[in-house]
C-alpha cells in the first residue's frame, strides 16, 4: 500500500482517503493503477476523510472501493472534502419515501 498520505482503493474511484490530517493548500500525491498523481487540496482533510480526485457533478455517483457510495448533492471540485455536507447516501432513505 506504500507510505502514501492518501489511498485510492480502486481505479474507478473518484475519491481518495486521507491517512493523515492534511491541510488545505497541501499538494498530496497518491497512486492509481500503479501511477502516481498529485493534487492541490482545497480543504483541510482530517484523517480518514475523503477528497475528490476528479470533479464530481451534482447527482453523479461518488465512487470508492470501485463501487457507488452515494451521490454528490452539489458540484464538487477536485481537491475538495467529500463528506455528509456535499454527498448523500442512496440507501435506507425512508425520508425520501412518499
Amino acid at each position: 500500500m506504500g507510505k502514501s498520505k492518501a489511498i485510492v482503493m480502486k481505479a474507478a474511484d473518484n475519491v481518495a482517503t486521507a491517512v493523515e490530517d492534511l491541510p488545505a493548500g497541501y499538494e498530496v500525491s497518491f497512486t492509481v493503477n500503479g501511477e502516481t498523481a498529485a493534487l492541490l487540496l482545497q480543504d483541510n482533510i482530517p484523517f480518514g476523510h475523503k477528497f475528490a480526485i476528479s470533479p464530481i457533478k451534482q447527482a453523479a455517483r461518488v465512487m470508492k472501493y470501485g463501487e457507488p457510495i452515494g451521490a454528490a448533492s452539489e458540484n464538487i471540485e477536485a481537491g475538495r472534502h467529500v463528506h455528509v455536507h456535499n454527498m448523500i447516501g442512496l440507501r435506507g432513505r425512508g425520508d425520501l419515501q412518499a
Partner: protein, 387 residues
Amino acid sequence: MEFMGYRRPDGTVGIRNHVLVMPTVVCANQVARGISLNVKGTTWFEHQHGCSQLAPDAAQTARALIGHGTHPNVYGVVVVGLGCEVVRAQEVAAEIRKRCPYKPVQLVIIQEEGGSYKAIQAGAAAAHHMVLEASLVKREPVETGELILGTECGGSDACSGIAANPALGAASDLLIDLGGTSILAETPELIGAEHIIADRAVNEAVRQKCYDTIKAFEDSAIAMGVDMRGGNPTPGNIEGGLSSIEEKSLGCVYKGGSRPLQDVIGWAECITKKGLIYMDTPGNDIEQLTGMVAGGCQIAVFTTGRGTPTGSPIAPTIKVASNTAMYEKMQDNMDINAGTIVTGDETIEQVGQRILTEMLAVASGKLTKAEVLGHNDFAIWRIGPTM
C-alpha cells in the same frame, strides 16, 4: 495445525470452560448476579427480555439463551427464572439437558425457592460444585478446523475498510482453508455491498437469500420514514470519515474474506455447516455478538477504528485496531494493531496471519483484554412489540 481445547463428550470443542449463571428473564438478573458474585470462577450476564413477548420474539430469546447454555465453551450452567415469565426457565433448562445430556444444568426458580436470598443460596451451592468439577477438565490438542470464528466490526472508521477488515478477511480465509468456519453478519452493514457477498454464494437459493435478507432489513429501516444515516452510520462513524451506509458496508464486507458463501442463517441459529456462513443480525455490536455466540462461535474477532471495548461473557473477543493512533491511545482494550497496513509497514496478508496466530493462542487459553476487563456483554435482538 492444532490448538489446545476442551473436547466435549458429544465431539464439540470448547476453548473456555465456563460455569455460566444465566437469567431467563429480566426479573432474575439480580439473583443471577448475586450467585455469580458469590462464586469465583463463574461468569454471568443480564438482559432485558424473557417476558411480555409474543411467540416469535419469545422463541428468539429462548434460542439465544439455549445457544449460550449448550455452548461448548460452557462446562455447566445455572438457569435462573422467576416463575411466571413467558420464556420458561424450566423449558430452557430442559432443552439444554436434552441437547447436552453430559452437561451439569441446575434450575433455580425464585418463586419456588422462596425469594431472592434463598434462590442465590441454591444457585451458588450448585455453581460452587460445578466450578470444582470444571477445574479438573484438561485441554487436549484439537485441529484448527474445529474453530468457528465470529467476525465483527464496530466503531468503524475509514481505516476499517482499508486495513482491519481486509486483514480479518485474510484470517477468515486462512481458517476456512484449514477446514474451519467463519461467520459474516451485520445485515444493515451489507446494504450497498450485497452483490459482493451474494456473488460468492454456492447456489442460486443462497444467492437469492442474501438479497432477500438484506432487502428485508433495509425495508424495515425505510418503514421508519427517516434517513438511516445518523443511526447507521453513527455520529462516530461519520466523524471518522464514513459518509453513507454504502461506504460503511463496502468496508465491512471485506472481513468476510473471499471464500464461497455456504449458507444464510437466522439470528442465533445453530451453525452446522463449514466454511463461510452469513448470519442475519443487526449491526448493533452486542446483539450481533450474542447471536453469533449463541449460534456456536467459540471465538470472535472484532475490528474497530474508533475503539470499542465489548466482549462476550463466554466467547473470547479479540480486538483489532484499524489505525495505529487509536491502538496506542486505547491500549487497555486493543489486542492487535492492523494500522501497520495503512502506514505500509505490513501487508494485509501479514496482519491476517498475525490474527490467525493470535486466535490460536487465545483458543489455547491466552486471555483477551475484554476477558481481563470482565466484559459480559449480552443483548437479545428484539423483533416485536412489548406486550
